[in-house]
């Protein structure tokens, strides 16, 4: 499932910002992998702070960076299926049944709530949004996760 071809500027921006993402994730014993072909596709292996034996595989797919939010999906492995309910954590706003995250940091959330494009929930395209998305995912796993979806 490849994303649209990523423009060169987005590729350069992602390469720059992904360094901080790697530092953040590996500092928590996680993993970051970039797809060898689709340069907008990243795979994160994240672990909740209170259950480090648990691995969640997250696909973060950028079509433009940093000007547009990424598609964020949980998978059953790096490069794995995106339609597995048990790959998802139970977190408010995360919807394992719909395989999406209805929050203002994902493309899926902004598609459902177009009104988020205006006002305080608009996509933040300044700084390092990739790091912010990653930190948000990790924080949700650490503080709001109620376990793995069935």
């Amino acid at each position: 499932m490849a994303t649209a071809a990523l423009d060169v500027e987005s590729q350069l921006n992602l390469r720059r910002d992904s360094q901080a993402v790697v530092e953040f994730v590996t500092g928590r014993d996680g993993v970051v992998a970039c797809d060898a072909v689709d340069r907008g596709l990243y795979w994160l292996v994240l672990r909740p702070a209170n259950d480090v034996e648990e691995n969640y595989w997250v696909r973060v797919a950028w079509e433009r960076y940093p000007s547009a939010p990424p598609s964020v999906k949980f998978a059953d492995a790096i490069g794995g299926r995106l339609d597995v309910t048990s790959a998802w954590p139970i977190i408010p706003g995360y919807r394992p049944g719909s395989f999406d995250i209805c929050q203002p940091f994902t493309a899926e959330g902004f598609t459902i709530h177009a009104e988020w494009q205006q006002g305080p929930d608009r996509w933040p395209s300044t700084g390092n949004p990739f790091l912010w998305v990653t930190e948000t995912l990790q924080r949700d796993l650490d503080n709001r996760c109620q376990g793995r979806s069935g």
């Binding site: 408010p92 929050q103 203002p104 305080p120 300044t126 390092n128 949004p129 912010w132």
Partner: protein, 97 residues
């Protein structure tokens, strides 16, 4: 003699170098030298002002130190301990679900 001691003491407590980073910041991190009794809430407010951020209804902002959330009421002295510098990260947390 006591004046000299006072001078030495004031030099020791003259301030704590504070750095606040924010992933979504457009520019450089926030840097300031603050009095040890300054609260984290004050630092957060000044950092948000530099970053051009205002409080928003659907988000909460707070500072973390060493990966842990820090209460707005804590003083820099209580966090820095013997250190003359302390680094925080400003977190924007979405509250809707």
């Amino acid at each position: 003699m006591s004046e000299l001691r006072d001078t030495e003491l004031s030099a020791k407590v003259k301030g704590i170098e504070v750095t606040v980073t924010f992933p979504l910041a457009h520019g450089k991190p926030f840097h300031a030298k603050q009095a040890p009794e300054t609260t984290v809430g004050t630092v957060r407010s000044e950092a948000m002002s530099q970053f051009g951020i205002q409080e928003e209804a659907n988000s909460t902002y707070y500072l973390t130190h060493g990966g842990s959330r820090v209460d707005d009421g804590a003083t820099l002295a209580s966090i820095a301990g013997e250190s003359e510098a302390v680094k925080f990260t400003l977190v924007k947390e979405l509250v809707q679900g």
